[in-house]
Each structure stands twice: as structure tokens, then as C-alpha cells.
Symmetry: none
Subunit: 203 residues, 4 copies
DNA sequence: GATGAATGAGCCTTCATTCAT
DNA sequence: AATGAATGAAGGCTCATTCAT
């Protein structure tokens, strides 16, 4: 190795790894994990095919790492919400808003999560998707808080509501992405969703 | 030739095609579409690999046909619900109950639908999933009816509610299947879900 | 078997075998032996796939039978030529005329012979194409006669000339078929070919 | 890293592509295109099956590329002949000599050309065999020149003669290869062929 | 670390052939 | 004899992964 490569190493966490993950998000979003080729990701990332294997054990690992990395970022964004000094109802509304905001800001990531997350948690060997559970638990925590504050009905099942809520958001987001439906703003959808979940549909 | 072979030929509703579809449901549910081999399906169906291609153009077509066939059956079951002479609220409750009942009765099919349906509607070439849209519209019709009956709040967006409702049911079902959680009965989950959607979460 | 099938059996050599051979000629001519499916031949012949195997051992055998049968017919047509009481030169001219006439009358057969004959004599196992050799020997016999009559130069190699002549006719015919060139009549080509072979190209 | 690896990199005229083409010639010559497996070619070339697909789109493309590449080489050899300052008669004799010489030097290639060329020009999709037409036109050019020099009879059809000549050479070559007939030298056959075409067969 | 040519296991699909009816 | 649904061996091709440079 020449003297020149003794050059000042960025301390920041590996640049190229991020590059590859970001490329993978885009490629997986467009083609789906199984239809996407490692070579596609490499090309999009501007690296050689082999380079990917310097940072990831294999294609599955790339997907898992992608989930982990991005889930971490997402969790960070949502976690701060919990600590806010606002009512559980307000938190729930903010949660829903933030969810749709995220979807709007990074549709590719959203697609990967929505479609591949499901495949993967079922078919990737030895992958227990803890981060996703953590994410659901943020909802759970808000609900719990609401019950503690005697805001929410104490008979509702936290377990069910967190799934119900996530499922609802997820499906609304998917269709928004799928149809490219820009007419209905996600902001408005967020409000309606919150209203229905909070007040119910009955007149 | 015995008297019995003066047959009485099975109604001939393509026996073997069904056989293959049923095998495919099981195999796809366990391994996922992309990890499942056509040979796996053939073996499970008790036919030769080539036989599958007598009934389906290719592996993709098998998945799509599976959707179409089963969706048809499902739509039939749900459609009759609409025509019943009961309130929209009752219909919605029955819809939710039926949904979970079906999930319970055919978990394999449910798994395929939940996981692969998403993949496919996005990544299978040229497949516009009309049957799924029809299914969503059954929910839509109930909501509409409820609004017409002045039962439901007329400000709610039918489009959003049908997605919200489906997403919620879907996610609850997925987790139930995934975790094999027999403790919580789906029946109870159905009631809770209906309650929340109808009455809201607020105390 | 019912009394009706005791019906008068045509004494003529199997009808259906001919039917299949004729279909095979057309199909092989259009698609080539290797690209043609047995099912294609069956469909064209208006019989079931399995029926072909009642008359032919396998696909190769169908091709060989086709050659044998048709070559027999061709040999019969050409053989009579030899016995005519005309000069060798006249015979050669008639031979050439007859060759092109045949091509004109049955282009499909011609295509099969031209293209598949070559494949087959090389790659079909255990097939010694005696009939083709007999055909070439008809040319050889005419040349021999011409030499015996002191009409043709005795120094020419009969072996070479028969190949040369056949090759020339064959290529002219192929191009005529290939290009669908109706402008140049084969009749005229026949005369020119005969002239060149007899008189040479020199001025 | 040793001094030797400061290489001197092969001119890099795709080494491996040639390797595969040469292997394909041998394999196709022995088994025929349709009976040859891609794996056979790979094994003979000493590469992995997949490597072939780095250089050729598919099996058909391998055959076509083989034609194109080799035809190019052949055309180059024959083209120089046209420019020589010798009579058209001499050129024709040299053409015939060169043709047989090439056959003798590369029998495998000759076999592939003679047998597969016919198949392919008819049955490979979208392949217009321009190089073969160019080759025929070299003969045409010589004939034209001979007519211009008042050497050849001006009434002969150039179009017919070039086919006639090629067909004759081709058939003679085929039989020589097929029978492995070493007794009759091709050199002598070349002379006889030229004599007959130039002087005719009549005494 | 980076490359990308090479690898070869694996799978979908075809189609000649069979055989129960 | 005739059928045509069923078979399953075979092979073209892909693509995740490796490794020499």
C-alpha cells in the first residue's frame, strides 16, 4: 500500500455502506427484493458487484441491514415524540402525521418497508424483526399513556389497537404510493384517520 | 369394463387445476412465492412438473390464477352480505367477523394473500388486481349505505375508510397468523375492532 | 367393437400414414425439423399426438420415413428418364428440367430435402441415406452413358460431376425458394444451367 | 508482485470469446447445433457454462456470432483475390482452389457452415445473412470481370452462375468431408471443377 | 479496499413419448 | 385404432457469490 493511502480517514461511519443501502432501497422499491439483482444495486450505487460483499454478507443481509439501519433512524424520529409533554391524543395525532410525512418524504423506503418487510420477516432465515416490534410499541406506549390519563377507553386491547392503527396507516400509505394519488393530501388523510380512530364512525 | 366406469364423470370443474392451486397455496404459504419451486407445488399436488404447465402459463400465472380463483370465491361469500336486510352497522360487524372467520378457516390462503398479494400487485407484470378492488368496494358499499341511512358520519371519506378498515383487519390477521397466537380469539378481536372503528377510542 | 366398425377397409396403403407424412413435410419445411413439434405435425395432420406413434417409432423415424417415402416417388419419376431412347445430352437436360419442375411443384418437400436432408444424414443415428445415393447415381448413369456415347469428355470424373451437378441444381433451387423469386423462371434457369455445364462459360 | 506480472497484457482481442467460438465450431461440427448442449461448448472451451453468456446473448447468438466472425475472416481472404492483376479465368481458378484449401484446413468450420448455415439462415429469427451474400458477390464480381474482359460468354446470368458455382463447390466439399475421402485430393477436384465450368462437359 | 470477470448451482420450462380410456 | 392428458428427463439461462488482480 502506497504512502498516499495513509491519508486521513474520515471518521464517519462507512460512506460506501450507506451508499449501497440507499441504492438498495431504490432498487428494491422499484423491482422488489426477489426481482432485484445484486448487480442492479451495485450499478445504482456506483460500485462494483463485489464491493457489496465487502459490506454485507449476502443479499439477504443487505436487506436486513437496510431494515435495521433505516428502522433505527425512524425509531429515533418517533421516540422523541413519546417524551413530549402533550396529551396522548395529541401524541397519537402527531404520530399519524409524522408517519404520513415520512412516507411522503421517502416513498422508496416506504415501499420497501411495506412490501419487503412482510416477505422478509417471514422468509428470511433467523431474522427476528425487533425494530419493527419496537416501532409498534411506540404506538402501544401512547395508547397506554392515554388509558393511564383516562383519556382512552380502558377496555380497548393495546395489542390489538397498535396493530389496527399500524395496519390502517400502512394500507392508506400503500394506496397513496401505488396510485400516485396526489389529489388527496396525506395531511388530510392523517386527520381523518385520527378522527375515526378517536371518535369512531358513528354519527 | 365394470358397470361403475359407466361413469358419471365428475362435474369436470377442472379437478386437476384445483388440485394444483390448492397445493400452490400451501407451498407458497410455507416458503413464499419466490422461494417455492414449481417442482414443490407439483410434488405436493401429486402431479408431474409438466402437468402444471398444462393448466398455467407459467409460475407467475399460477399465482395470479390462484388469486383470481380464490378471490372469486371470497367475493361471493362477501357479496351476499351486502344484500342482507340489516343495518350498515350490523353489516360492518358481520363483514369483520366473516373476514376473521375466513382467515381462521384457511390460514394458508390467508398467508399467501397477505404476503404475496402485495408483491404481486406491484411486481407481476401486467396484473391489475381488479378482484381486490372489488373486495375493497364491498366495504365501500357498506359505508355508503351507512351514510345514506344517516348511521355513519357523512364527513368521513369512503375511500379512506375502506382502506383504513381493510388495512386494520389485514394487519391484525397477519399478526395472528404469524405468531400463531391462539390465545386471543379472532372472534374477540373482531368485536374490538368493530367497536373501535364504530365508537372510537375516546372514553 | 361394434358391428359398424367392421366396415369395408380400404386396401390402399395406410391413409393416415400418408396424411402424417404430408403434414410433416409442411411443418418441417416451415419450422425446420428441430424447431417443429410433434404436436405441430399432429395438429396439421388432424390427428392426435399419440396417433403419430402408431405409425412411426419416434420423431426421427418420421423424418426418415418421410425421406424414404418421398425419395421413392422421386426416384420413380427420374428412373424412367434413364430408359428413354434419347441422347445423354438430352437426358441431362431433361433431368435438370425435371428437377426444377419438381421443386416448383412441391416447394415444401424441396425445403425439407434441402435443409433437413443434410442435418439428418449427419446427425440421425444409424441412417445411411441410400435413396439419396441412388438419386445421385441417376446423374452418374447419364454421365457414363454420355461418355460411352463419346458425347462427353472421357476425362471428367463421374463422381465429381454428379456432385457438382446436384450441388448446382440444389443451390439454385434453394435460392429460388428462399427469395420467392418468381421473376426468373426456373425453366430458363434450367436451360442456362444445362448450357454452362455442357458448353462451359468461356466465350 | 513479480516483475513478470508487469504485464504486457495480451492485445486483448477478446481472448475468451474466440476460445468459445472455436470450441463451438468443434462441438457443432460433431453434434450439430441442435444436438449440442451449451454445456458441451463450455466444457470444450474450458470455461463455465455461465461464461458463455457473458459473451453471447444466447445459444442462437453464439451460432450467429460464429458465422459473422468466421465469415469476416473468410471474406478477407477471398477479397484480396479480386484485386489481383490476373485474368478472370485465373481468378476463378484461384477462387475454387482457395475454397477447397479452406475446407481442407478447417473441416470443422466447414461442417458447421455447410450444415448449420442452411438451418440458420432460414430458421434463426431475424438473421439476414449479409456476409454470405457478400461472399457470393465475390464470385459475381469475378464473373462480371470475365464478361467485361470478353473472356466469358456475355449471355450467362451472373446471378445464376454464382449460385451454380457455389452450390457445386459446396456439395463437392460436403461429400469430401462426409466420406472422409482422402483418396481424391481436393486439389484435383478443384481443377476438374474449374475445367468443367469453364470448358463444359461436351467433348 | 475495490474490481468485475468468472463461476456453477439451481430452476423454470419444453416437448417427445406413453398409456389409460 | 385413436385419443390427448400426463409425464419427467433434459437443458438453456440466470444471478448470487467468489477471487485473482
Amino acid at each position: 500500500m502506497s504512502v498516499h493511502s495513509l491519508r486521513f480517514k474520515m471518521p464517519r461511519t462507512n460512506n460506501k455502506k450507506e451508499l449501497i443501502i440507499d441504492a438498495a432501497i431504490k432498487v428494491f422499491a422499484r423491482k422488489g427484493f426477489y426481482n432485484a439483482k445484486v448487480a442492479d444495486v451495485a450499478k445504482r450505487a456506483g460500485v462494483a458487484d463485489g464491493t457489496i460483499y465487502l459490506y454485507f454478507k449476502n443479499k439477504d443481509d443487505l436487506l436486513i441491514s437496510l431494515f435495521e439501519t433505516k428502522m433505527e433512524e425512524i425509531l429515533t424520529r418517533f421516540s422523541s415524540l413519546i417524551e413530549k409533554k402533550i396529551s396522548a391524543e395529541k401524541k397519537l395525532r402527531e404520530f399519524i402525521n409524522l408517519y404520513f410525512l415520512m412516507i411522503e418524504q421517502d416513498q422508496d423506503l416506504a415501499e420497501v418497508f411495506q412490501v419487503e418487510l412482510r416477505q422478509s420477516s417471514k422468509f428470511l432465515k433467523d431474522y427476528h424483526n425487533q425494530k419493527f416490534i419496537d416501532f409498534l410499541n411506540i404506538i402501544g406506549a401512547i395508547i397506554e399513556e392515554g388509558i393511564a390519563q383516562s383519556l382512552f377507553n380502558k377496555n380497548i386491547s393495546i395489542h390489538n389497537v397498535k396493530l389496527l392503527l399500524f395496519g390502517a396507516l400502512d394500507e392508506l400509505a400503500r394506496q397513496w404510493i401505488l396510485t400516485g394519488d396526489a389529489s388527496r393530501s396525506l395531511k388530510q388523510t392523517a386527520n381523518e384517520t385520527a378522527d375515526i380512530l378517536l371518535y369512531g364512525m358513528l354519527k
